[in-house]
Amino acid sequence: MENLIHMTAAYSNAVLLLVLTNVCDFAKRLELPIAQPITINQVRECKPSPFKNYVAGALILTNGDQFTFDNGYIAGFYAYSNYCNPPQDWQPQDYYKATNWWGTMNMTTNEVVEFARDSLRKLSYDPKVLHADGPPTQFEGPPVLSGQIVPCCRVEWSSRDWPDIVSFCIDGQRTQVLRFSLASTNAYRPTPKLDVVPELESDYRKRVQGKMFMRTNAAPRLIRPKPSPQDHD
């Protein structure tokens, strides 16, 4: 594949700013518990896509929350350390820590579903267009761990009959989105142009190899003595 780009700090930072702008807007609309405005100091990691003409990236904040920017929109959000997103380094013997997620469910099933639909509206998506206006195709929760409720429900609208996949995890105690994923061609937005134009990795390598040759002590070009007239008949 010839479309891998040569990653530079300038390009990475340009993607970071683009993703961060979208993350700020997303967090504000969904009223996520993150101090606004989100600044660079709150960014722990940004993983830009290394593909030409595919501006995308994942952003992880210092509080552990992760956002994925894809096809011009925030397609994914994972709040850190909750029932829907347990830390990946946990081993079975660490599961006792999940007792921190116990709580009280303050929402009914219908309220959870409607809250998920409202969240789509807040993000300027029409639930009907995303096939999320009907009953969810999957509804899970709230789970019970060691006899206590974890106030977390999962709502999903997906089917083999349509291409849209919408899923939410909702915190039923604090009425918050814990996790969001939207895969739908209906959600695509034009990707804004970046000021930094990335160079293809293949072009970069050709250029660097050329420079390395130039750095040698060899003469810039071979100078041949002009043939004298006697050399010719």
Partner: protein, 243 residues
């Protein structure tokens, strides 16, 4: 600058750096080997550098390749498998009548001590993706020592005290090859590459969501419907989680 050139190319975006020949995205399967060795994990059977092990097709070498694959599969340290090729709900390979070119599902269950369940010397796999026809319809999850239930979440593993594992298979006969297997369907290839990028880059840490978003990724749009893939076991398994 908010970050340095070194951080941009190593910590935040290591892909270009490790992919010196760009082979990762030129082929459908090599990326799985390159990313695994980057972790680093040992990749079996022996293979050319950066290349997935290939089984010769209709060749005198074919039976030897299948034997090497078999040995790798049953190596006690093997815990992950990505297979792309012929198969069905009853085994891996193109000819179920020829045991030298086919690994039946029953054999896997016996060799790994996973069927019948409850054996103390069972050899369970962590991640298996069988990229072949109707691989989700058989008893493969049981054979690989996984939970044969779809889309499990944290609650199951909390009570079971088990390590996470996931099996990915197709409910359909995906159009992987065209022209009698001589070329690969570009959309299928792109889908697998999109999935590989989504999952290994951490853009989508959950295997189910990495699949859900592989329909349109860095390699472009595909006509593959992610809903035709089933994930048995832990739907949110991370790329290197519980490895």
């Amino acid at each position: 600058m908010m970050i340095s050139e070194q951080v941009a190319r190593t910590k935040w975006c290591p892909f270009v750096r490790i992919d010196s020949s760009n082979r990762k995205h030129n082929t459908m399967t090599d990326g799985f080997v390159q990313d695994a060795e980057y972790v680093p994990l040992t990749v079996r059977p022996n293979h050319s550098s950066g290349e997935a092990f290939r089984i010769h097709y209709k060749d005198t070498q074919e039976a030897y390749d299948w034997e090497a694959f078999r040995q790798a599969l049953y190596n006690p340290a093997s815990r992950n498998l990505f297979y792309c090729g012929h198969g069905g709900d009853n085994g891996i390979g193109r000819d179920a009548s020829d045991i030298n070119r086919f690994i039946p599902q029953e054999e896997i269950g016996i060799a790994l001590n996973t069927i019948p369940p409850g054996q103390t010397n069972r050899h369970g796999f962590r991640f298996v993706f069988l990229d072949g026809c109707e691989s989700a319809k058989g008893q493969f999850p049981d054979a690989f020592g996984m939970v044969h239930k779809e889309n499990l979440d944290f609650q199951y593993y909390y009570y079971a005290g088990e390590r996470y594992s996931a099996f990915v298979g197709w409910n359909i006969e995906p159009a992987i090859g065209t022209l009698a297997g001589h070329t690969v369907n570009v959309y299928h290839w792109k889908f697998i590459q999109n999935f590989l990028y989504n999952w290994t880059s951490g853009a989508w840490p959950s295997v189910r969501e990495a699949l859900n978003h592989a329909g349109n990724g860095p390699l472009g749009w595909t006509d593959v419907n992610p809903q035709t893939l089933t994930v048995f076991g832990y739907r949110d398994l991370g790329y290197n989680q519980s490895n």
